[in-house]
């Protein structure tokens, strides 16, 4: 395998391989790899027991539960409504569709701080939406539900944008065949369409989940930030930093980094699988 590759590299007549790869690795190391390694090296200042005491402190554990729980619920909401949105955008015609399609990317483009204060204003007890929901006994802003709302917002484009192209490329023939063999629409969806799109759906779900775990800007305004109740893990890191507890801030950061890296590898694996399926099907 490796021999074949190096032979190909020699046959390649295009110039600039050493320069472009050299610069890529240099810049990657300078901006990303060396600074990230600082986090891992800083943690070695703590003994293992100290490290464990920091990352398993009750307040920190409560923040993991909120961060991961709310991220999971947000990603699930996005999986359901993202799939519906992608479906409606690909299959149906309705007025304002192009604008809706473009607006789906708003959470990518809107700065998180702006999203945070806007969601807070809307979902607070006196806000446009909050004033209708609060009389039902449900408080959104300044509770864990507010965290879920913010994390749903920032993860919204992922499922739509991963499922949409797969749905667009589905051939009509298989659905026609299913219909002519007597399947109703629901059977066709569960037996024909869903199996084709679910790897993309899972990828979008994982992307939304991964994005939500690290999110800070949109959450802190709406969360209320009450320790043990509505305090997310990134805020714990900031709080420790402001108290000049660099080593323990870094310890919590390392826990998050490891989990994020594992998720990144899982997502890359998923995407590889989706692409392989796509090329196998076509």
């Amino acid at each position: 395998m490796h021999k074949k590759y190096s032979k190909n590299a020699k046959q390649n007549i295009l110039p600039g391989f050493n320069l472009s790869l050299g610069f890529t690795i240099f810049y990657l190391s300078l901006i990303v790899l060396i600074p990230l390694s600082a986090a891992f090296i800083k943690t070695t200042e703590l003994s293992f027991n100290e490290f464990w005491a920091v990352v398993s402190a009750p307040r920190v554990v409560a923040s993991y539960q909120l961060t991961f729980g709310a991220s999971l619920i947000g990603a699930l909401i996005n999986a359901v409504f993202g799939l519906l949105t992608a479906w409606v955008l690909v299959r149906y015609k309705f007025p304002g569709k192009k604008i809706i399609d473009a607006l789906v990317d708003l959470p990518f483009a809107l700065p998180t701080a702006v999203a945070g204060i806007a969601l807070t204003a809307v979902y607070a007890g006196n806000g446009w939406i909050g004033q209708w929901i609060e009389p039902l006994g449900i408080k959104i802003a300044f509770t864990p539900i507010g965290v879920i709302v913010a994390l749903t917002f920032i993860g919204l484009p992922f499922v739509v944008r991963t499922v949409q192209p797969v749905l667009e490329n589905l051939e009509a023939e298989t659905e026609e065949a299913a219909a002519s063999l007597g399947a109703n629409r629901w059977q066709t969806f569960t037996k024909i369409i869903f199996p084709a799109i679910w790897p993309a759906l899972l990828t979008g779900f994982a992307l939304a989940f991964a994005r939500a775990i690290g999110e800070y800007g949109s959450v802190i305004f709406i969360a209320g930030n009450v320790p043990f109740v509505s305090e997310i893990t990134p805020l714990i890191i900031i709080t420790k930093l402001e108290q000049y507890e660099y080593a323990s801030a870094t310890a919590v950061a390392v826990v998050m980094l490891v989990i994020s890296f594992l998720l990144l590898f899982a997502i890359n694996g998923l995407q590889w699988w989706v692409n392989r399926r796509a090329s196998a099907l076509s």
Binding site: L28, V114, W128, L257
Partner: protein, 299 residues
């Protein structure tokens, strides 16, 4: 064409699908409109209402208050710093993106998939941690803290730190956009240019970059939007020194925490306009790509 244009390459098969889609492979009218209504309600609650709220809150106290908030010296200096950070981060990541895409798309080498994963790393890292790592290196207690202090250079709680954090969080955008495009283009055109006597730089300027110009533009738009809007990473390294190390998003936070809501939303509305312009440019680029693809198909 009435079909959405996310993946321009799929335009043609789309069209076939649409023509072939008959009553047997579509839903009844009531189901269609129920689904559309659910989606519109969801997007209204999560996207449209919050976006409208930014502008309503910004203008709640009148247009004069709005203008005053934007022309306040602290607001102006935060606009300036945001522009400076983007003006440094975007070109650097653009050069990196082109170099990385050239190496990855045009050559085979060991460890390529690892390199692609490593380029994605900044996407997976929480912005707060992105800020933290630069504090660990350049902060007073950090690796180079005492050296920097001796030479009276400030990185953290100063502009260089903000620029570094901005570069980190926008690191992968251009590369991610260009790599699949340049892989799809292959290298025949470049090799033909080489055979005809073009130098490497001529090939890059005359063949490769013109071929990927829309993807490049899209990558730059995304990088710029994120650079100007970054909050978490910049918040950690900035030190929140008013009028000195505050970017636009940080200025929004300060005003908001002072209960100066009208001013906070006024400054936020600038960033919301930036986001809307970004979406508009994105739609334009997608339309251009789809049109170019159609022209290619006809010729």
């Amino acid at each position: 064409m009435s079909i959405s244009t996310t993946l321009p390459a799929s335009q043609y098969s789309n069209y076939q699908n649409k023509v072939a889609r008959s009553r047997a492979t579509s839903e009844p009218v009531w189901a269609r409109w129920t689904l559309i209504a659910i989606v519109l309600l969801f997007l209204t609650l999560f996207l449209i209402v919050p976006l409208a709220a930014v502008f309503t809150e910004a203008l709640r106290k009148g247009f004069d208050t709005y203008i005053t908030a934007l022309t306040d010296p602290d607001a102006l200096s935060s606009i300036k710093l945001t522009l400076i950070a983007a003006a440094i981060a975007v070109p650097l990541n653009l050069v990196f993106g082109v170099a990385a895409a050239w190496a990855i798309a045009k050559f085979e080498f060991r460890g390529k998939s690892i390199l692609i994963t490593l380029i994605d790393l900044p996407f997976a890292v929480s912005p707060v941690i992105a800020g933290l790592i630069y504090v660990l290196i350049f902060g007073l207690q950090g690796w180079f803290g005492s050296t920097l202090l001796d030479h009276d250079i400030k990185v953290v709680f100063a502009i260089p730190g903000i620029v570094l954090a901005t570069i980190f969080v926008t690191f992968p955008f251009v590369a991610r956009e260009l790599i699949p495009l340049m892989q799809a283009q292959g290298k025949e055109e470049e090799e033909a240019g080489l055979v005809l006597g073009a130098s490497g730089w001529q090939i890059l300027w005359r063949i490769t970059l013109p071929n990927v110009k829309w993807g490049l533009l899209y990558g730059v738009i995304l990088t710029n939007a994120r650079a100007m809007g970054e909050f978490g990473a910049v918040s950690v390294v900035s030190g929140h020194i008013r009028g000195l190390t505050n970017t636009l998003p940080l200025h929004v936070e300060i005003l908001y925490n002072e209960y100066n809501y009208a001013a906070a939303f006024a400054v936020a509305s600038l960033l919301a306009i930036l986001a809307l312009v970004t979406l508009l440019l994105k739609s334009f680029v997608e339309w251009k790509v789809a049109r170019d693809a159609q022209i290619d198909e006809k010729s």
